[in-house]
Symmetry: C2
Subunit: 526 residues, 2 copies
């Protein structure tokens, strides 16, 4: 690779940023700025950063920092097929699950791209046969339900996207083609709860694990089979089970799974929503047309993310602003606040995407870092959050950067005029009011009623949450996370921090008594 890996704090532009004055958003915010600090980020989506503490001089330094950290070149290395996940010695190819890029690939990438394309064809075909009734349950009943059994990346992204599009499909009294449920937690009450709601005869179970060895997923599959047996003795369970896994994994077994769809090691779990991990269930739920539109939106963002100019590259600009918040303004958290009930679980997906990718203390070369990386990510939909934790955001002692998401129209278009305005108008009036209130504040002689303001935010805005827009939104955050990683000089694609817990849990289960502390904690649950 011709790119160089340099710690954030070694970049000359970062050193300049440290001593550079931060503009007070209260003083610079204006109607003109609100219309100017607004750029596209993929199909159907705008990124408005007018309420961030940034001005032209800072933006110029941001551009220098992006150039110095060679973020576009590094993104291209990813697309070329370089080993950009050095911890696991792997390529990083999730962008190819949604479209091909006009770059020169290294050896071996083409066959991977073909694998991903082939899977889309295979699961599109499969979904169509389920919808038409050509593929049925073992008792001859048509499938009306799918249950995804997976955890982490095999759960959070697909679940968030399913919920995000369910309302879109429901508009005009429609329903999803297949109703979906998800089982993730090894807590047996999770499977019990889902199983109490569904009819196994008409249900297809999608077991998702790249390695084919995920403890929770295998245990839940065993529990689900057990519960089916006790409920519907005559069912041929293998005809109700399909797998999404790596080729050659222990899960690839035609005796247990009617069908298998494939992913590989070059798609990280938290970046796998647009692969078969999300594709199978979303195509079943909404049809492959809808899933393909989602891919189209994601690809549009991936293409735009190749722009060198940060004012034409929203995920990059967003990443720079977040690094400025974290490493210059020293914020420790970030709130994701979608004003859209359909995005109720989108913050949970982003929590994994960002914190698991960038919650690291070593750099790309494996050396210890001395500066802050991923903040804590949290969030709930507005206006719900307003009646919950916004008190702390407005008047608390810490500054929390806020990322709003909003849409001009509702998905399902049911609405009512009440006291002079619709619910959708009320929703967006609240959103506009909050951005303003956080930025400008309000002076009051009573300190208890005083709002200091100066609390910065940005917003992603779309016309309506449709599949293309959702794809852009998803890829915006994936690309922003990748760019953050380049700026921080870390590997955003491994997750060594999850290993120790797994290892110790297996020791407990094996009954080893070598660690008195571990034994004593285990004993609390006996």
């Amino acid at each position: 690779m011709s790119v160089k890996f340099k710690n954030l704090t070694e970049a000359e532009s970062f050193k300049e940023l440290v001593s550079f004055p931060t503009p007070d958003i209260k003083n610079i915010l204006s109607a003109e700025r609100i219309s100017k600090y607004n750029i596209k980020t993929g199909i159907g989506l705008d990124y408005n950063y007018s309420a961030k503490s940034v001005d032209k001089k800072l933006l110029k330094l941001f551009q220098q920092l992006a150039d110095e950290q060679q973020v576009i070149e590094k993104y291209k290395e990813i697309l070329h097929g370089s080993i950009m996940n050095p911890g696991e010695k792997r390529m990083v190819l999730h962008h190819y699950t949604r479209g091909v890029h006009d770059v020169e690939y290294k050896k071996g990438v083409s066959s991977k791209i073909n694998l991903y394309k082939k899977q889309i064809e295979r699961f599109s075909d499969f979904a169509e046969k389920v919808h038409s009734g050509k593929i049925k349950g073992s008792s001859g009943a048509k499938f009306d339900t799918a249950v995804q059994i997976g955890i982490g990346g095999s759960d959070l992204g697909p679940r968030a996207l399913y919920l995000a599009l369910k309302g879109f499909m429901q508009s005009g009294g429609q329903k999803p083609l297949i109703n979906c449920e998800f089982i993730s937690n090894v807590d047996p009450d999770d499977a019990s709860d889902v199983m109490s709601r569904i009819n196994p005869e008409t249900t297809l179970f999608i077991v998702v694990s790249k390695s084919g060895t995920t403890q929770e997923t295998l245990a839940n599959t065993a529990l689900v089979k057990d519960l089916i047996k006790s409920k519907s003795k005559s069912l041929d369970i293998a005809k109700h089970m399909i797998a999404v896994t790596g080729k050659g994994s222990p899960m690839e077994n035609p005796l247990e799974f009617y069908k298998s769809f494939y992913i590989d090691d070059f798609i990280g779990g938290r970046y796998s929503s647009t692969s078969a991990v999300g594709g199978v269930i979303l195509s079943l739920a909404f049809g492959s047309d809808v899933f393909n539109k989602l891919l189209e939106g994601a690809h549009s963002n991936d293409v735009m993310a190749l722009e060198n100019d940060i004012l034409k590259n929203a995920p990059l600009l967003d990443a720079l602003l977040s690094v400025y918040d974290r490493n210059i303004l020293k914020t420790t958290t970030e709130a994701i606040l979608p004003y859209s009930q359909a995005l109720s679980r989108f913050p949970a997906h982003l929590q994994q995407l960002i914190m698991e990718s960038n919650g690291k203390s070593v750099n790309f070369k494996g050396k210890l870092l001395k500066y802050e990386t991923s903040p804590v990510i949290f969030g709930e939909p507005g206006t719900n959050g307003q009646h919950s934790f916004y008190q702390m955001l407005h008047q608390g002692t810490d500054i929390v950067p806020l990322k709003f998401i909003g849409f001009k129209e509702s998905q399902q278009l049911n609405d009512v005029d009440f006291q002079g305005s619709t619910c959708q108008k009320k929703l967006n009036a609240n959103l506009a009011a909050q951005i303003t209130a956080f930025a400008i504040g309000h002076k009051d002689d009573n300190p208890n009623k005083n709002f200091p303001g100066g609390r910065n935010s940005d917003i992603l805005i779309g016309q309506k949450l449709i599949p293309e827009t959702l794809g852009s939104l998803l890829a915006h955050f994936e690309n922003r996370t990748m760019f953050q990683g380049f700026l921080w000089n870390i590997n955003s694609f491994d997750q060594e921090g999850v290993q120790l817990g797994k290892k110790l849990a297996n020791k407990v289960l094996a009954g080893a008594q070598e660690n008195p502390v571990l034994d004593a904690y285990s004993a609390l649950f006996r």
Copy 2:
């Protein structure tokens, strides 16, 4: 009042704490400590703080701090009926929704206690009549569904408690007596979604707003009525609507509501789960016996919270440890990690409870503070979180104090032995492993595989998540939040920080064009 209000940093014991050495949990953790640093916290629940960075010397200073801040005396002032919410000039009486205390009340408190008792009788009776079919829908059909329309405290607590007990009712193939849904967000897609799942003929709507003027709740009620009309023209909607509101509020209207149940100004929204706000829907869902057991558990914690000795008062000890984390160790966030799928929305409730109560910058007397108050609260159930944000918790650059919740048994008791252990065993093996991994870490020459450890946590443990235990758990956090407020010298019972956003949103809706920034943001949604 004979109590004195002093800022945290003015307390002599706090000044001592600042310069006092913090023990490294890695060095002091032992099997003996794990069994010793364990106390009761209400019926069915233990509080184990063995993995907190605390030793006997620090505990002694904590006791001095609690004494100096007169936290027990202040709690007694609350029970007496003093104006302990000075911002709104109100008493704070939520403890009386679950039992009477052996203290001398001030004038007027008795009549309030009688109101709360009376409501329990009224909604128990009502729930029984709905269950027996004495009260039916307007078409003569029995009610099988209840939909709560409320937001903030009228939504998060009741919803979290409903989900927490649903599995308990489901064990052995049972179901809740009445199936429940919740509509909160003013986004019209929220109501659309719920309405697509229910049959209005067999549904009772519970509209909850103390003031009777909550914008979201009134708008959602109008939207729900509109959707019912378009679906079931002949239904007498008023016979399907009941209210939980303040006496004399604009919502108290027998023409619109078949029945009204009452709360008053002395029960804050986020503390109202054990009042009619949670009581009506939980009694409908599970029967009044279950709700009464929840109250019993909560009351047991309230009584224990009167203990002066911090080693016999778990919510107080927990509050002291959290203030130590925040103001001495300078942590900025706190993760709530229930290893119980039934508690999936409990962190969202606590997020409101803690951040809205204690996310303040002024003291009890309304003067600006110069130290940190509420951290950001976030969390998801384990083991799900392990596959999501735990990477950052283990190896990220910031320390996040962790609060685990666990139970020896699952609720529904369905389980399977897979690869030598049940799912429940796997769940708890993971929990024991995580506490140990966070505290002790693991040394590795490869910095990428190194775990620094020293990341402190505590855990609330019960035998099983039954109603009494859930009540203890709820009250533990309410009382802990109250004690935090006393330690920080703030008013935990008002929420002035929500007002500015409301005001500006109303300006937008009224079409006022006086604020160009507000207008420009509003224009983004047109």
